[in-house]
């Protein structure tokens, strides 16, 4: 839609509003970055200071002495494997759902929608006693497989929307040429699906990376992910020094996300609009 020619007052209201939003959207992150570079006295001084001496001490302490690198390593292992496994399983299912005409496919999608809306704590309530009994607590495999399952409903819906856009004639041609379904899938469909798979992968990554509720409960001690480890730095009765380390940790978690949004902005937008705008 082409923008309309507006009266000067309306135009400036729009402009100011947008600048105000720009400011509001950035302010919490900006302030978090600023205080993470300060000594505790300056970070939470009353009244707050806009300028104060800067130091990297909080980051040095948390990464070198508190072993935050270990949590970062755990996060890397868990998110990487979660993304790969989720995408493999979900793209198989989504492809089948986009090509199959039976009613069972529809009911499967409905079930996936209900599962997607489930609050994660509901699942955690059941995992807690069961995993404890089975003795599979605090292991990479456990967290990965749980995150993969939680990712499935969303990934299936999103990938299906992408697969629907690929013309059926393409795989039918492959079938005529003597491929079976599996060959048609990975020789013909997957190569043209890469943009969609990358987009869905981003959202799988975000879900695994951002998860606090499940990760903090299924993993403990040295097995924690970065986001879950943040929990031990928070809380009202922590010392200010420890809180400062937590802020440095929070910034460390945010930086990869900012890079990700910067690099994959187009894919994130297309992923969000894939399901909604096209119908």
């Amino acid at each position: 839609m082409k923008p309309a020619k507006l009266h000067i007052v309306t135009r400036s209201i729009f402009g100011l509003g947008l600048w105000f939003w720009f400011f509001v959207a950035l302010l919490p992150f900006f302030w978090m970055f600023v205080i993470s570079l300060r000594a505790p006295v300056d970070a939470f001084s009353t009244p707050p200071k806009l300028f104060a001496p800067m130091t990297l001490e909080n980051f040095r302490y948390i990464w070198v002495e508190d072993g935050f690198w270990r949590y970062a390593l755990n996060t890397t292992v868990v998110t990487a494997l979660t993304v790969v496994v989720s995408l493999t399983m979900a793209s198989l299912a989504a492809y089948a759902l986009s090509r199959y005409r039976g009613s069972i496919g529809f009911w499967l999608l409905m079930a996936a929608m209900v599962f997607r809306a489930m609050p994660h704590v509901v699942l955690l309530t059941a995992y807690r006693p069961a995993f404890f009994e089975l003795g599979i607590w605090s292991r990479y495999e456990t967290l990965i497989i749980v995150l993969v399952a939680i990712n499935q409903p969303f990934a299936i819906w999103m990938l299906r929307a992408f697969f629907m856009n690929i013309p059926q004639e393409l795989d039918e041609a492959a079938l005529v040429d003597g491929c079976n379904r599996w060959q048609a899938f990975y020789k013909v469909i997957v190569p043209v699906m890469w943009p969609g798979i990358v987009t869905a992968g981003l959202f799988c990554f975000l879900l695994a990376y951002n998860d606090f509720l499940i990760s903090s409960q299924l993993m403990n001690g040295d097995m924690s992910t970065m986001t879950a480890a943040l929990g031990s730095y928070m809380g009202q009765n922590q010392s200010v020094a420890r809180l400062m380390h937590g802020i440095a940790g929070a910034v460390s978690i945010t930086i990869p996300i900012i890079i990700l949004v910067f690099v994959f902005q187009k894919q994130i937008v297309s992923g969000m609009t894939a399901g909604a705008v096209k119908g």
Partner: protein, 349 residues
């Protein structure tokens, strides 16, 4: 595609969902119908109490101790209690008392008051109250704000749009625990916001110490967190608005506002519905701000209540009862979407 091929393609995904999502849903029903405790027995314990000069006295006390099995572990007893856990969770007795109060006084006012006291006193009802307040306050605000932002961004030049979208994505994409913390640090006592408001002469605020302000801050966080979602969808939608009707409207002398009101909004109405539905589902499980702000007493959510019961009270049966109530809420919210999808499916065939 043949049925058997279909099944082999969807099998891994469906299996994972069955075992790790569907089975837990059945398990919480089982958990909520039971109560468990460690079996105890009263044992006589003899201890030698030193008196003086090396003399001791034997003291016999009756102490409850867990019954141990052959391996030396305590024996857990599981007992079927029926719907008792659920009844405790929603406090049926308190509810019926509220209804009785109405019969005695027979004024709607006293009834509402009794109901209100009930909501304030019972964990589940107060958590549900704030969850619903949060959900139904943020939904219209994010739609209006997102639409306004989309219209404003649409007026920008190509070069400026990228940065606006980039900045707008951040509140939504950054780890919710981290973004809640970032907002929390702005609102702490004597923090940036409180100090600025005081410097401007508006007044002294302790945001986290009062029910109204802490709720307002959490709702504001919810708007800040979810408005980008509405913005992205509506901004993409604006690009699909056809130019012809708008040009026709300009020729007919429609004002910019009338064009938005009678052409753009009707064109985008399916998107408004999608945003509302997805946002309602997501905000029903609001968790991170409640955790980070430590606002359990003033503003709780059903998901945080269950989490708290499970993790801090370590009571899986009570938590399972809350979880079931949470699931019932999800289903109630989903029914309109499911009916709509079902109708679309039928129409498509």
């Amino acid at each position: 595609m043949r049925r058997s091929t279909f099944f082999s393609f969807v099998a891994p995904s469906v299996m994972s969902m069955l075992i790790l999502i569907a089975l837990p849903l059945v398990a919480i029903i089982y958990l909520s119908l039971h109560q468990s405790y460690t079996q105890m027995e009263i044992k006589e314990v003899k201890t030698e109490v030193p008196l003086f000069g090396g003399k001791t006295r034997e003291v016999i006390r009756n102490v409850p101790q867990p019954v141990l099995d052959d391996n030396g572990n305590g024996i857990q007893v599981w007992e079927y209690v029926g719907a008792q856990n659920l009844k405790n969770a929603i406090d049926t007795e308190g509810l019926s008392a509220a209804f009785k109060a109405d019969q005695e006084l027979e004024t709607p006012r006293s009834f509402i008051k009794a109901l209100f006291d009930e909501v304030r006193d019972v964990d589940f009802w107060s958590a549900l109250e704030f969850t619903l307040i949060y959900t139904f306050l943020t939904t219209p605000i994010i739609i209006i704000l997102g639409f306004g932002l989309a219209l404003a961004t649409n007026r920008l030049t190509e070069r400026l749009r990228g940065p606006v979208v980039f900045v707008t994505l951040l509140p939504m994409i950054v780890t919710p625990v981290v973004s809640s913390l970032a907002v929390y640090w702005l609102f702490v006592d004597g923090g940036v916001i409180a100090a600025s408001l005081e410097a401007m002469g508006i007044g002294k605020f302790y945001f986290l110490a009062d029910q109204f302000t802490i709720r307002a801050v959490i709702v504001a966080y919810g708007v800040w967190y979810a408005a980008p979602f509405a913005f992205i969808i509506l901004y993409a939608g604006l690009q699909t608005v056809p130019d012809d009707p708008i040009e026709a409207a300009i020729i007919d002398g429609a004002s910019p506002w009338q064009r938005v009101r009678y052409i753009v909004i009707p064109h985008l109405s399916p998107l408004f519905a999608v945003i509302a539905l997805i946002h309602i589902m997501d905000s029903y499980r609001v968790f991170e701000p409640i955790l980070v702000f430590g606002s359990r007493v003033f503003a709780n959510s059903v998901q945080y209540l269950t989490y708290y019961t499970l993790v801090f009270e370590d009571n899986i049966h009570k938590a399972a009862a809350y979880a079931i109530l949470t699931v019932l809420g999800v289903i109630v919210l989903l029914i309109p979407i499911m009916i709509k999808t079902f109708k679309d499916q039928k129409a498509g065939k």
